[in-house]
């Protein structure tokens, strides 16, 4: 059973219960991720990227109405574990999350060093001084001066806080690190610095990354694989080289065309309309309403087609 993959997600489904009905935030998502690779998950706001990350890490809010599918980490099925087993053995220990707006997720009344050391103490059971030594090493990895261990979050700039949050995710040496919009609130220069850190970490630590972002241009720096999400579905999975050169799905094409390029003479494109409501998504292809190449078959749910190793969920490639 797929021993060679680090992470394998099959038909993952996460629906939320609301007063208006079930929100189908993640609706049957499958992909897999190899050791030492990084996958970028692209998509507009509200397409279910963050929900998918939360579903993989089982960080669920209370109003979940259904949560099914299979998640295999190094061949072991995680969905069979109960919450306590999951907490003890998987979260932080095997995979960790750098949450969205991580720079605001630090505790204002604890020193950042203590916060970074805490997961190591809780999940690896090491003593405080060992954990602090590990935290110090992680600070070096992400490029934060070691004397910052004794500072509070408000004494650090946005970029430094983001690095601290990344250090916290690394301190337990997990196999997989999920980064949710790690640079979206930062300036270009800081963004570039953080991405340089991530690139270096990927080489040094041999960890795998899942990077969730809507920033297509920056994501290309780190990506080995790209998955594009639209309205709760993954519509395309491809290796980064071929994706950035010629995306397959009409949505990916439009998305790529809407990125303003430096010194480009082409006017950036845009996508008319907005994504469908996930309360009652349209039958058939969910992008059909906004799609320039729609035809009669799009009224039915498109299959996921394998095209030279790339997967695309579109009738055009059947």
């Amino acid at each position: 059973m797929a021993q060679d993959k680090l992470l394998r997600v099959e038909e993952l489904l996460l629906h939320f219960r609301t007063q208006m009905g079930a929100v189908q935030a993640v609706d049957g998502v499958s992909f897999d991720l190899d050791y030492g690779r990084s996958m970028v998950i692209l998509g507009e706001s509200g397409c279910g990227k963050t929900s998918m990350a939360k579903a993989i890490l089982r960080l669920l809010p209370r109003n979940v109405s259904s949560y099914t599918g299979h998640i295999y980490l190094e061949g072991n099925e995680l969905m069979h574990l109960n919450d306590e087993e999951y907490r003890q053995n998987i979260r932080w220990a095997a995979m960790s999350l750098v949450p969205q707006a991580a720079m605001n997720s630090l505790n204002p009344v604890l020193k950042v060093g203590d916060q970074v050391a805490e997961p190591a103490m809780v999940h690896l059971g090491v003593r405080k001084d060992e954990a602090m030594a590990q935290a110090r090493r992680m600070f070096q990895h992400v490029g934060v001066p070691a004397d910052f261990l004794n500072r509070y979050a408000f004494e650090l700039s946005g970029g430094m806080r983001q690095r601290v949050a990344i250090a916290m995710a690394l301190v337990t040496s997990p196999r997989l690190i999920v980064l949710d919009e790690p640079t979206s609130a930062l300036d270009v220069l800081t963004q570039a610095n953080i991405f340089n850190v991530l690139k270096r970490l990927k080489k040094e630590l041999e960890a795998s990354f899942i990077l969730i972002t809507h920033d297509i241009a920056t994501s290309s720096e780190l990506a080995d694989d790209v998955a594009v999400m639209y309205a709760g579905h993954i519509v395309e999975i491809s290796d980064a080289f071929r994706f950035f050169e010629s995306p397959l799905h009409p949505y990916s094409k439009k998305l790529m065309a809407s990125v303003p390029r430096l010194r480009g003479d082409k006017e950036p494109d845009f996508i008319i309309g907005q994504p469908p409501s996930l309360l009652d998504p349209p039958k058939g292809c969910r992008f059909a309403d906004r799609c320039p190449s729609r035809f009669e078959k799009c009224g039915q749910e498109p299959p996921t087609v394998d095209k030279e190793g790339r997967k695309v969920k579109c009738w055009l490639y059947v």
């Binding site: 220069l189 963004q191 610095n193 809507h214 241009a217 290309s220 990506a223 998305l255 950036p268």
Partner: protein, 337 residues
Amino acid sequence: MSINAQFETENKPGNSTLELINVQNLVKYFPVRGGVLQRVVAWVQAVDDVSFSIYKGETVGLVGESGCGKTTVGRTMLRLTEPTSGTVKFDGIDVFSLKGGELKDMRRNIQIIFQDPYASLDPRMPIGDSIGEGLKIHNIGTPRERFEIVIEMLRKVGLEDYHAKRYPHEFSGGQRQRIGIARALALRPKFIIADEPVSALDVSIQSQVLNIMKDLQREFDLTYLFIAHNLSVVEHISDRVAVMYLGKMVEFADRDELFRNPLQPYTQALMSAIPIPDPTIRRDRIILQGDVPSPLNPPKGCRFHPRCPVAMDHCKLEEPPFREISRNHWTACWRVE
């Protein structure tokens, strides 16, 4: 002395007759109060001696990291915040000397599009009323005529008539930003300050808003000051681009010139950090050490010297003047000859 002073003003960027906006030596310090008596204990030097001009019908992009003072420049020009010193001339009229009714009349000609489309619309007001509010304040037309202008503006930004009766929460981010544009345009201003108009939007709709702004500029003969931190967006929309660092303008040039031939080391670092959506391109990045220093106590000499990869001793001592290096290319750097 007088000759010298005249010489100095003539050497500020653009003293042309075609200019619509002329900003000279704009300074804005914010007081920091502390202690029991709330005395002023320090000054945040948000904008320090910035001069530039904007010609009729052009778009000037203003870029820089967060906290460099670009928004303050925009707000001060509109007198949403009062300046510490300096002058801003709009069509030859000194904006800072205006009072009461005159100021109100001037503001009709200068409008602003705010950064956050979620926060800048009144949630309890139908958007038709929001768009028409400026018309009402300035006593333009009858209610019926005002309504017609509102409908016309809605159509111009690609919305429908019936949207006028709806509330902001019923719209998506891109639609709200277009409502913000419609509101800014309703008074038929000559000059629009757009403060990060697309940075809160998804990339798939950013260019839609930008294209609308470009079309309307042609149609109404508008002049834009486009404040943003995304250089690709600025490159796309601007005719000329100004770069700010820590309250100072460090470079100002025509767009193509600036992107092709950035002179100031900070601008060069910014340019090298621009992400390109193509994994095959290898980039040589200029990595800046450290963070932007606090504007409370900015470094002596050139404000960029602690992070500058090519700083010399002289940079620590004396502030470089903002001078014209080649035609229409202004920069402040001792390294540039």
